[in-house]
Symmetry: C2
């Protein structure tokens, strides 16, 4: 459970930045090299690499190196972690709404 919580911290932390969200958006269209990914950003390469490492460490992307080119690809399964968390929250509200409905219905008779 603690491991799951720590993983979720990283999953959401990775999304809390516009550059990282833009990189994920780009990778949603297919794998890309780091130099191609970096092009649209007015940012020094070491700063850009920090974002790439954070995305990799939190499991949002995987990278492979062939010769001098490192290619990044998205890990779609990470979206499942976010979707599961959302579904968990919804189930809490819905259980509450069901209880309220039963209470109101019971009052009617």
């Amino acid at each position: 459970m603690e491991h799951y919580q720590a993983r979720l911290d990283g999953v959401f932390q990775a999304l809390a930045d516009p550059t990282r969200r833009a990189v994920l958006g780009r990778l949603g269209q297919g794998p890309a090299s780091i130099s191609d990914l970096a092009k649209p950003f007015d940012m020094a390469l070491p700063s850009f690499m920090k974002h790439i490492h954070l995305l990799e460490d939190s499991g949002w992307i995987r990278t492979t190196k062939q010769g001098r080119v490192r290619t990044c690809a998205i890990e779609k399964k990470q979206f499942t972690a976010v979707e599961s968390w959302l579904a968990e929250q919804r189930s809490l509200w819905e259980a509450r709404t069901d209880r309220l409905e039963k209470f109101v219905t019971a009052k009617e008779f």
Copy 2:
């Protein structure tokens, strides 16, 4: 667009912490006072209040004060921001999968 991006930063940043996710989980069951919310956490009140302020500033909760009691309630509409972002990403992949499918199908004839 920039405003939307800045808002998303805060929305995801708020979720990148187990205490804040637990508070949202608790509030999913209904509004609660700050002292009730703080009980399960082994944390000084000022530290806990930082989490509450961050949740409030990022729009995840609203708080109201009546007498000496401040009550927190969840803003479910914030989940829509996360869901919209996820849906946006999915539409990018799906467009790509459609293009690939068309390409493969075209090659077959």
